[in-house]
Amino acid sequence: MIKKEMIAMLLAGGQGSRLGVLTSKVAKPAVAFGGKYRIIDFPLSNCINSGVDTVGVLTQYQPLRLNSHIGIGIPWDLDRNIGGVSVLPPYEKSSNSEWYTGTANAIYQNIDYMEQFNPDYVLILSGDHIYKMDYEVMLDFHKQNKAEATIAVMPVPIEEASRFGVIITDENRKIQDFEEKPANPRSNLASMGIYIFNWKALKESLIAMAEQSALDFGKHVIPYLHKQGAPLYAYEFNGYWKDVGTLHSYWEANMELIDIVPDFNLYEEYWKIYTKSEILPPQYISSDSVVERSIIGEGSSIYGKVYNSVIGCGVVIGKDTVVRDSIIMNETKIGAFCELNKAIIAEKVTIEDKVRLGIGEEAPNETDPHIYNHGMVTIGEKSVIPKGITVGRNSVIFGVTTPEDYQDAALASGKTLIKAGDEA
């Protein structure tokens, strides 16, 4: 009989709407990160580096990019005879067909998938965090404590704890209580959304709670188990862990990679992050270029000046263009004599010559000030910005734009210009 000690279920179905136009066409776990990676590469690489070789990836929102990225799991060595990676979208059933309505509901709908591996433990992960973690160590902790469920937690400054689900434990890290985004937190241990369950306990509680609408781990399953008196433990993690849920935290996490010795070090020998590499050639830096405090992906050609930036693969930056404090994703082309300040530019964007981004006074974004802020300019994938346009701060452009879309060849600070169809 097939037997896997622990399998992982990776929740990758969310939109991540606070990433604005970056997730208009792709699910958040498929958003590019750190030059050549996508966010989902981090939990997937953690799995294989921890010896977890069976991973179900639950997809729902805009899954095309995720599907083609994951494929049969070759980059992560997850192409296995038994187990490996499986993409699990919602599916139609003879009765009660529904979308994944909550994190635990998505797992509930895939009980059959998990059952076939006859696991002892199930690891629940989310596809939107940047971190390196050995799940095997967490499993050891789980076994030692004879827990029914273990939640990974992270100590955060107490003043920030009210943004998280907070876990209150005794001195042995046994969970006493939890609070969801409390005003006055009683603990500084924030839940990281990473759980190990005993398969039996998980299955029973999912079936018992099946009727709960929008069934969620933090809100329903964990409290249910706690009420049953099951021993729950908190596993404290002290490494680098970053939630890249907002555009600004996404930008910050990218910028941290360019420090001399970054907190999150991609250059370590023994915990490689794997990704699907389509572009192989080296990058070319021309005679007129300046590249400082930056990371650049394969196959890019730099003819301009790049400072404090994260550049993806297959990017072209034209002559006499100056790029500062920006993130440029794969296969974007930027013309000559441009100026980019604090811009986030998604994949396959075309920016023609003499375009200036991030110019002028700050003004809050007119449509979504809670998304587009901190003076950043955000450009959605496959957008086109015609020659000679000047764009202000906190602004956003998405779609193929023409000179007629701009007044006096400019888009003022805080403006939103979205021309793409669906959900724009």
Binding site: L280, P282, I296, E298, V310
Partner: protein, 372 residues
């Protein structure tokens, strides 16, 4: 596909000096991210040849490591696949490959058990792109017995270390000389041949009976008047790596925009083993001019007109000029390197000075490296 592929990657070459001490020519790193055998393999894969054998013999460890999986070139198929044949002791034979024809003879069962009508033979030490289907079409059109891909070299190139070819107006090869002292033509053989599988088996068996071992001398040259041997002219870029100077020049060629564009950005692509290295990183003090930088590099110093292979580390205040830094090299602070090839996995101490005077210097330094 109508053909199977054979790549000859067994030879040694003393003109590669220290560089061949640890690897066969087929495993020589090219253009930052590739190995020279990638070009032959990718050309076959892109021409839909699905079954390819690589013959290795000399110093094959590095090459075998590179060929660890057939998936990089898309060969890992149920129909076909990538086969690596090193010499093996058998009941009938306990010899090394005594020549190219002998290598084929010792693996004749590979040819006999295939069903494809044609065989494409190529060497693993050339840098080029070629649609082999076109060569095959040509071969059939000409009703040739053997087709030899050839290239017209500039008059300035000394062709004495190549096989030179003279063809008539129908492109039938009339003269074929191996490494002539005075060449009668500047058209050279690229070492890529198309031949019918059954004819090859027949000729190789006959060679073996007569104790002849070399494909060029004992098959091509000996049979040039009785077999229809034709030349197919390759017009695009083609270089082979036979000496340190060639090797240096080929890598430097990739700094030219037209060559870079031809190999890196024009379809079809060249494939290679994926190494899963992070993006290249440029810290404060990095100054790069006209250079190729590969993934996993960390640069803190000045790099000009150079090619940095994967995972090179360039310390603070270094000056790297007109040089090739091979894979996984660590260069300590304040080091000057000019006109050099730095051997892979070298560790160069801080404050070193290396300069090739009147030629290319090969730097091999195995100092202790402390990895965190």
């Amino acid at each position: 596909m109508r053909a199977i592929g054979i790549i000859l990657a067994g030879g040694n070459n003393h003109r590669m000096k220290e560089l061949s001490q640890k690897r066969a020519i087929g495993a020589m790193p090219i253009a930052g991210s590739y190995r020279s055998i990638d070009f032959a393999l990718s050309n076959m894969s892109n021409s839909h040849i699905q079954k390819v054998a690589v013959f290795t013999q000399y110093n094959a460890r590095s090459l075998n490591e590179h060929l660890s999986s057939s998936k990089w070139w898309d060969f890992g198929r149920k129909q076909g696949g990538l086969f690596v044949f090193t010499p093996a002791v058998t009941a009938e034979n306990s010899n090394w490959y005594r020549g190219t024809a002998d290598a084929v003879y010792q693996n004749l069962s590979f040819l006999k058990s295939s069903h494809e009508p044609y065989v494409v033979i190529a060497s693993g030490d050339c840098v080029y792109k070629l649609d082999l289907n076109k060569v095959l079409e040509y071969h059939i059109d000409k009703k040739a017995d053997i087709t030899v891909v050839c290239k017209e070299m500039d008059a300035s190139v000394n062709v004495e270390r190549y096989g030179t070819i003279k063809m008539n107006e129908e492109y039938r090869i009339e003269e074929f000389e191996e490494k002539p002292i005075v060449a009668k033509s500047n058209t050279i053989s690229c070492g890529i041949y198309v031949i019918r599988r059954r004819l090859l088996i027949e000729m190789i068996e006959k060679c073996a009976e007569e104790d002849r071992y070399d494909f060029v001398r004992d098959i091509l040259i000996r049979h040039k008047d009785i077999k229809r041997i034709f030349g197919y002219k390759l017009k695009e870029y083609w270089r082979n790596i036979a000496s340190v100077e060639d090797y240096f020049r080929v890598n430097m060629d990739f700094l030219k925009p037209e060559i870079r564009n031809y190999f890196f950005h024009e379809y079809p692509d060249i494939y290679s083993k994926v190494d899963d290295l992070p993006p290249a990183k440029y810290n404060v003090g990095a100054q790069i001019k006209n250079s190729l930088i590969s993934s996993g590099c960390i640069v803190n110093g000045i790099v000009e007109d150079s090619v940095l292979f994967k995972k090179a580390y360039i310390g603070n205040n270094c000056y790297i000029k007109n040089s090739i830094i091979l894979n996984d090299v660590y260069i300590g602070d304040n080091t000057h390197i000019e006109n050099c090839i730095v051997e892979s996995r070298d560790t160069i101490r801080a404050n070193s000075y290396h300069k090739g005077e009147g030629g290319i210097k090969i730097v091999v330094e195995r100092n202790e490296r402390y990895v965190i």
